[in-house]
Structure formats: structure tokens, C-alpha cells
């Protein structure tokens, strides 16, 4: 990639995020919010032997009922190499998740700690995990429960914050598999 190709996105981000006013906790926006996250998703335990760590992508949206409580929903996807005994070899599958979530936040100046819980559904894109009995031939959909937390840092612009989060998820119908997701995110609050 040419260095000049990075200039426009960086400039755009700088213009969008820059706000010369000093930051104060009571000035941070809350209300409707949206969040874009990128990270990694890894299955734990036995399922971790059959699915490699994969990149994940998610979007979240919802409403801050109070400065300390939010309710929302998210869509997320991750891609994993299926490391099942071959054949097949070097095949990939996707995990899609849609869930409702609640978040409790404790903010001190720019920094906030939060805890979140989720409830929703997840699906795998192929039947490649059938052969190791993680999924079953007639079911590639499961409920998903999860919880986690993270650190949120408000930048000078009152609408935006960035953060690091780690979530645990349990997939009861996928042989009770569990997973960890770690993500970096950018959050906008209107």
C-alpha cells in the first residue's frame, strides 16, 4: 500500500474526532450509540482443538439509558480455520452472532470500566464441525450467553471513545463450547 493511501483515512479520522474543547465527564455524550469493533475470537477447551483463533468483527448499537447503564444489540462475525482431523484440510468456517446486551459503566474522568452481559443466538456457516461432534447435522444454531468487561477511554471529542474489551461466550448447543473474544473498538454516542 502506498503511504499516500493512508493519508485520506487518517485525515478524515482526525477531522471527525478532533474537538478542541477540554474534556469533562459531564460533557460526554450519552444516548443513542454505535460501536465498531475488531478483534480475535478463540474457542476454549476441546472445541479449541478443532477451530483456530480467528479474526472477529462486530457492530453494536443501542441506547444509554443513563450514563452508567446501556442496553443494546450487536452483530458479530468471526472466521476460523477448521483444524479437524483431515479430511477436510485447511477449510474455514464463520461464526455469526446476534445478541442483546446490557452494559454497566463506571467512569472516572476519561477512563471507564464496564461490565457487560449478552444473550442471543449464534450460527456456524458450515457443517465442518459435525465430524468432531461440536455441531450436529440438523443443528448449526445455538443460543449464546456471555459476559465480560473492559476499559473505555474517552477522547477529546465528546461523542467518541475507544476501548478494549474481553468477553466470554457459552454456546450450549455446540457441545457446550465456550469462547473468548478480545476486541478493540471505537464507540460513538450521539
Amino acid at each position: 500500500m502506498r503511504p499516500s493511501a493512508l493519508v485520506l483515512p487518517v485525515l478524515a479520522a482526525a477531522v471527525l474526532l478532533h474537538d478542541p474543547r477540554p474534556a469533562r465527564a459531564d460533557e460526554y455524550s450519552h444516548g443513542f450509540y454505535a460501536e465498531l469493533g475488531l478483534g480475535a475470537h478463540t474457542f476454549l477447551g476441546q472445541t479449541g482443538q478443532y477451530a483456530a483463533v480467528g479474526p472477529s468483527f462486530g457492530i453494536r448499537s443501542g441506547y444509554d439509558l443513563f450514563s452508567w447503564l446501556s442496553l443494546g444489540a450487536y452483530l458479530a462475525g468471526s472466521t476460523h480455520e477448521a483444524t479437524v482431523p483431515p479430511p477436510p484440510d485447511r477449510e474455514y468456517f464463520q461464526l455469526y452472532t446476534g445478541a442483546a446486551e446490557g452494559r454497566i459503566t463506571v467512569r472516572v474522568r476519561r477512563l471507564a470500566l464496564f461490565a457487560e452481559g449478552t444473550l442471543g443466538a449464534a450460527a456456524v456457516s458450515t457443517n465442518v464441525l459435525d465430524r468432531v461432534a461440536v455441531t450436529e447435522p440438523d443443528s448449526h444454531l445455538t443460543m449464546v450467553f456471555g459476559g465480560g468487561g473492559g476499559l473505555d477511554y474517552h477522547i477529546q471529542n465528546r461523542h467518541f471513545s475507544i476501548g478494549l474489551a474481553c468477553d466470554y461466550a457459552l454456546y450450549p448447543s455446540f457441545d457446550a463450547s465456550s469462547a473468548l473474544n478480545v476486541r478493540l473498538y471505537l464507540r460513538y454516542a450521539k
Binding site: 468483527f57 448499537s61 462475525g77 483431515p86 479430511p87 464463520q94 458450515t126 457443517n127 465442518v128 450521539k190
Partner: protein
């Protein structure tokens, strides 16, 4: 503020589009296991040096709308709807993923994987081409057949790719419905996705072509009218004690693939032909 809101809306829209695009990755592969699941040759107990297993591609029969689409396709191609298959090659991408284990701890071995199969019209059986077993050798398989060297106590994985299986389907249709000679089409690659007539080839050319058959007297089958495999037979041979495991990887572009082999909903499936294609006897 308004500009930022517009930016935000744009960003959210883009995010949603990316997320939905990722979630909507169409034609995710489905993997089908053969019966039996593993083929072992040259094992103890008098096991032979060749074994066969079969795997089907379960495709639901057409709905009335899909029948109408096929009739419209036939009209567009100028064909009788009866010769346009209900399961077409363009609707399925099939590949065979295999792993061979050489169970002999001392001796390297040579293995071969032969692929034949059936569409909804005909089954390809090379032995059906043999008129005189003393004189005639059967034609090659539709795909595979290359020697694979496996080290002693070694494991090797590979793929017979979608393009090769697609070409094999083209060969099967050319042989069975357009009168192509097996050796002429099985040992060469078609220059186009269509089955083409020998009459269209330059004089002296030995490229693949078809002279014309019962269903396609001109020897031409448009790509869109080529039948897909809905059953695949894999024959495994080796000169040492080996095991072949394989799966069929199918990407369905028609939303008719029945992904659960147990077919719990009892969806009616398009049956593969059980009729071995037998070429017309040579003129006396």
C-alpha cells in the same frame, strides 16, 4: 453537528453493510461423508488392493417455480426442456478432499484415486465400454487416476478441485448425451465450458469434441445445460497397506442442497441414475 451526524449515519450504514455482507456469505460449503467412511486396502485378512465407496449429493427436486425457470432456460437455449437437467453443473461446485495414510511402517507406496459418478441421466462405468475383455482396456476414470506417492507410515492430504469435477461432469455429459469418444474428452481439457461439436474443430485437430448423440445430435451442449454429478464413486487402489478417507465438499448455488444427510424432513431428492451408459456397438 449535522455533518457529524451524516458521517455517523454513513459509518453505521457501512458497518451494517459489511456485517451483513460477511454474514451473508452465500454458498457456504457443506461436507458430505461417504459410505463407508474410510477405504482400506491391502490390509490383513486378505483385503484386496482396490476398494470403492460412494457418496451422494442430496438435491431436492424442483419446485414448480424452478421447473418454470428450467423451461425458460431451455427456451432461451433453444432446447427441449426434457434435455435440460433439473440439477445442473452451474448450480453445484463439488470437490473431493482426501487424506491417505500409508499404514506400512517400512515401505513407501503408490496410491491412486479414481473418480466416476452419475448425474440424473446416466452413470459412468468404464467397464461398460469393454466389449471384449481380452482385447479392450476400459477408458480412464472421469477424474483422478494420477499416481500418488505416500511415504512409509506417512499421511498425505489433497484435493480434487471444483474445476476438475466440473470438467468431469462435462465429460460425462459429452460422452453420454452428445456422443463423444471417452478417450478424446477424458485425456484433454475442454477449451470452453460448453461441450463443442467435432464439426466445429479445424481439420486434423485432436481436441475434445462430441460427434452428436441421441439428446444432442449436433454434439453441442451449452454449459448451462450440462448435468451435475449427484453421486460420486471413489475407487482407491494402492500397492501397500493404506487407508483413504475423503469428504465431498459441495457449494450450492441453487438453495436446493439438503445439508443434513439424514434428511429428517423427508425432502424428495433427485435420484442419481443407476443406468450405466453403454455406447452403441460399432457398425458391423
Amino acid at each position: 453537528m449535522g455533518t457529524k451526524l451524516q458521517d455517523f449515519r454513513l459509518g453505521l450504514g457501512l458497518s451494517l453493510a459489511v456485517a451483513l455482507g460477511a454474514a451473508g456469505c452465500v454458498d457456504d460449503p457443506v461436507y458430505f461423508d461417504p459410505t463407508p467412511g474410510a477405504i482400506e486396502v491391502n490390509g490383513p485378512g486378505g483385503m484386496g488392493g482396490a476398494a470403492v465407496s460412494t457418496v451422494g449429493v442430496p438435491v431436492a427436486v424442483e419446485t414448480p417455480d424452478q421447473t418454470n425457470e428450467r423451461i425458460a432456460l431451455a427456451t432461451r437455449l433453444g432446447l427441449d426442456p426434457a434435455v435440460v437437467p433439473t440439477v445442473r453443473r452451474d448450480q453445484l461446485d463439488v470437490e473431493v478432499e482426501w487424506t491417505i495414510k500409508n499404514l506400512d511402517p517400512m515401505q513407501d507406496g503408490i496410491a491412486e484415486i479414481f473418480i466416476v459418478g452419475a448425474n440424473e441421466f446416466y452413470r459412468y462405468n468404464p467397464m461398460a465400454f469393454v466389449v471384449d475383455p481380452e482385447e479392450d482396456a476400459p477408458p480412464p476414470p472421469l477424474a483422478g487416476g494420477k499416481p500418488i506417492e505416500v511415504a512409509a507410515d506417512g499421511v498425505l492430504s489433497g484435493v480434487i478441485h471444483e474445476e476438475e469435477i466440473g470438467e468431469a461432469a462435462q465429460d460425462l455429459d459429452a460422452i453420454t448425451r452428445a456422443g463423444a469418444l471417452p478417450l478424446r474428452v477424458l485425456l484433454a481439457r475442454w477449451p470452453t465450458p460448453d461441450v463443442t461439436s467435432c464439426a466445429a474443430l479445424p481439420t486434423g485437430s485432436m481436441g475434445p469434441c462430441a460427434v452428436g448423440g441421441t439428446e444432442f445430435p449436433t454434439g453441442e451442449i451449452p454449459s448451462e445445460a450440462i448435468a451435475a454429478f449427484i453421486s460420486i464413486d471413489v475407487t482407491f487402489t494402492a500397492d501397500t497397506h493404506m487407508v483413504l478417507e475423503y469428504v465431498l465438499r459441495v457449494r450450492d448455488h441453487s438453495d436446493r442442497l439438503v445439508a443434513d444427510p439424514a434428511n429428517p424432513a423427508m425432502v424428495p431428492l433427485v435420484p442419481p441414475s443407476t443406468t450405466d451408459y453403454v455406447p452403441a456397438p460399432p457398425p458391423p
